[in-house]
């Protein structure tokens, strides 16, 4: 009687072991088939928009005015998103827009581009096409020669297409 139960327990353990091996081997097979998942997991350093802004502008006040940001509402291809920054601030010799900055909040590195302008530009406007990793706010900051900062923010939806091709 005792012996019998012993044997059965041993067999039970063996079966459980077998089952475990099967499960493990199946999952390890899965990982062999999908090595890309592990690779895709390595992410570049991520910077937060607030830190980026702080590094660039310190605690200076950024006013939401004098900047117009034109972007699409929806972009199907995040690799090509048209962006236009327009400011109505003057471009005179001693008072002009010195620099335009473009940021994408949700990109790994939010800082996208900057342009240092001069009165010879006549107009503080810059159009560029930028990459967006995913749906995010796009942000333009304008810095004047007198040291003032102005900004505008717009949301852009980066979507996948409709058809399940």
């Amino acid at each position: 009687m005792k012996e019998g139960s012993k044997i059965s327990r041993r067999e039970f353990m063996m079966m459980a072991g077998l089952a475990c091996t099967a499960v493990l081997s199946a999952s390890s097979l899965g990982s062999v088939l999908k090595p890309s998942i592990a690779e895709a997991a390595e992410k570049p350093d991520v910077e937060h928009i607030n830190d980026v802004l702080k590094n660039m502008f310190g605690s200076r006040k950024i006013e939401m005015a004098h900047v117009k940001l034109k972007t699409p509402i929806i972009a199907e291809n995040g690799a090509v998103v048209p962006v236009t920054v327009i400011s109505d601030l003057p471009m005179e010799k001693d008072n002009y827009v010195k620099k335009i900055y473009i940021f994408v909040d949700e990109n790994y590195h939010p800082f996208t581009a900057s342009a240092e302008l001069s009165p010879a530009n006549g107009k503080a406007t810059l159009a560029l096409r930028i990459k967006m990793r995913k749906t995010s706010n796009v942000r333009a900051v304008v810095e004047t020669s007198t040291g003032k900062l102005y900004s505008a923010i717009k949301a852009v939806k980066v979507t996948i297409g409709g058809c399940g091709g």
Partner: protein, 277 residues
């Protein structure tokens, strides 16, 4: 032994059957006459919906400059480049600035007795290269091929599209239309159900466009591709979306379809290169 082989075969068949279904080419459909759909919306309604939904950025970008314009300049250089065994360039026959080709592209696609079917600008350029220049045909959708097509078509820019479906072309127009209404692929769609019946409806964030202006701007720069491509590349994309097997460039079906769609754009000015989402 054989039993095992049989089992494996059955297993494979079961596993592969969905894949096979994907490759089910636009399964012909019966030859019953086409039941046309009522147009979901007019082009004007579509433009209004488009602006509400996407904003004006694509139009504004096109004004700021279209990357395909760079390609067009290369096309002009290519037009003047001597190639092939006969020592000729396109310009040798058609004039240095393409003056003899002005107004030609708006009549394409058209019936060509030499090929007993529908000829397109892209196909004709390659026929010219082979027959008149003794040069190699350009690979469809390659940079040079698109550039040259773009240049040749641009010579007729602003002129009204005037595609004829009279005479022998009629038969091919009807074939193109039939293709447009043929259910295909795993999704069992046809072109018309999206672009006629449900035009102006949204497939998630894609607004379905009515077919009135599908023929007036190719080759076109597409934001989604980040590249310039032809109308037939779009056909292939749509067929992939339907989970049907795309047909080769300049296949008979695609040439007929190009005729059918360009005819829907008759009367509109040709504007290449286009720019779109």
């Amino acid at each position: 032994m054989y039993k095992n082989l049989f089992k494996i075969a059955v297993c494979l068949a079961v596993i592969l059957s969905p894949l096979m279904a994907v490759h089910d080419v636009w399964a012909g459909g019966d030859s019953a006459s086409i039941q046309e759909y009522e147009q979901g919306c007019t082009y004007e309604e579509y433009e209004k919906t488009y602006l509400e939904f996407y904003g004006n950025s694509t139009n504004e970008m096109a004004e700021e400059g279209n990357p395909a314009e760079l390609m067009l300049d290369d096309g002009k250089d290519l037009y003047n480049t001597v190639d092939g065994s006969k020592g000729k360039s396109c310009a040798s026959c058609h004039g240095e600035n393409g003056e003899k080709l002005v107004g030609v592209a708006v009549k394409y696609p058209k019936y060509d007795p030499a090929i007993k079917g529908i000829n397109t600008v892209a196909l004709q350029i390659n026929r010219c290269r082979e027959n008149q220049m003794g040069a190699k045909p350009l690979k469809y959708e390659s940079y040079d091929q698109l550039a040259l097509t773009l240049y040749v078509k641009s010579l007729s820019n602003g002129m009204k599209i005037n595609v004829s479906i009279d005479g022998p072309a009629r038969k091919f127009y009807e074939k193109g239309k039939k293709f447009y209404y043929t259910r295909m692929g795993q999704w069992n769609f046809n072109c018309a159900i999206c672009h006629v019946k449900y035009s102006c409806k949204r497939v998630r964030t894609n607004l379905l466009s009515p077919n009135r202006r599908h023929g007036d701007h190719w080759p076109s720069y597409r934001l989604k591709w980040g590249k310039t491509g032809s109308m037939q590349r779009r056909f292939r994309g749509c067929m992939k979306n339907m989970r049907a097997k795309p047909l080769p460039y300049q296949s008979e079906e695609y040439r007929n379809l190009e005729l059918y769609l360009t005819y829907q754009s008759n009367g509109l000015p040709l504007e290449v290169p286009g720019m779109r989402m």
